[in-house]
């Protein structure tokens, strides 16, 4: 699956790596600042 996705990315290795890092960063930021703050109070661990 990851190999398939890697091949679908545009450009050479450097550009692909940059796109992967960018997407990862955006995903982590969305999780950390949006999803997790919404989810945390709903997890019953005190």
């Amino acid at each position: 699956m990851y190999r398939f996705l890697w091949r679908r990315l545009p450009g050479g290795t450097a550009l692909r790596l940059a796109v992967v890092l960018l997407l990862t960063g955006v995903t982590v930021a969305a999780l950390w600042y949006v999803v997790f703050p919404w989810l945390a109070p709903r997890v019953p661990i005190g």
Binding site: M1, V28, W32, F36, P37, A40, P41, P44, I45, G46
Partner: protein
């Protein structure tokens, strides 16, 4: 036909297996958020609340009453010497999720600091800076210092126990005696127990032993 089926199953299993890797990483990230991300949020809130409380203390200089405050505002400053000289949390009014994100909360409707009755506080055990994480280390006779707007109140720990979440009589004006009229000032601190679980509640109770002018 059989080989095609096997190939499809293998593909599905492989994709599921590959999805488990990012799922695991997201779970680890969420765990890190619960432990540190929520704490950073609470520390920011505490910084602001303690600053505001200091301004109110400077302004009132002991001439105010204990003063009920709005939900989410700072009511008092809590210090527990047994837990270290640096242990200090602004207590906010309210025990809803929004209030407990800021720090330990005062149960609305229960006694205010120093008043006759039960001054009830609730706080997180493992998340949001975990203000009550080490309540289990308190021993009988330990001081709990509450700087309120009008004075400094010192309570002495009298009791520590683990109860079920349904045992709400620990927050009654006379803990454990519903309907009884209070004649002394006590305090109750509750938090989740054990750590990382809300299955039970750890309860620490104390009795007021001293009222003195606040040393700002």
């Amino acid at each position: 036909m059989r080989e095609e089926d096997d190939g499809a199953v293998r593909t599905v299993v492989r994709v599921i297996g590959e999805l488990c890797l990012p799922a695991g990483l997201v779970l680890l990230l969420f765990y890190a958020y619960l432990l540190w991300g929520t704490g950073a949020e609470t520390e920011r809130e505490q910084h602001v609340l303690q600053q505001r409380l200091g301004e109110v203390f400077d302004r009132d200089r002991g001439h105010a009453g204990p003063g009920a405050v709005r939900l989410g505002d700072a009511l008092a400053l809590l210090r527990i010497p047994r837990l270290g000289a640096g242990y200090r949390f602004a207590v906010v009014e309210g025990v809803g999720p929004a209030e407990l994100r800021k720090g330990p909360g005062h149960f609305p409707g229960t006694a205010l600091p120093g008043q006759v009755g039960n001054f009830v506080l609730s706080g997180h055990r493992t998340t949001y800076a975990a203000p009550f994480n080490r309540l289990d280390e308190l021993r009988r006779g330990d001081d709990i210092v509450v700087d309120a707007r009008d004075a400094r109140y010192t309570y002495e720990v009298t009791r520590k126990e683990v109860v079920d979440p349904g045992e709400v009589d620990v927050v009654d004006p006379v803990p454990g005696h519903p309907g009884r009229r209070p004649t002394t000032a006590v305090m109750t601190m509750t938090t989740c127990h054990p750590e990382f679980s809300a299955a039970q509640r750890l309860v620490v109770q104390g009795v007021l032993v001293r009222r003195e002018e606040r040393q700002d």
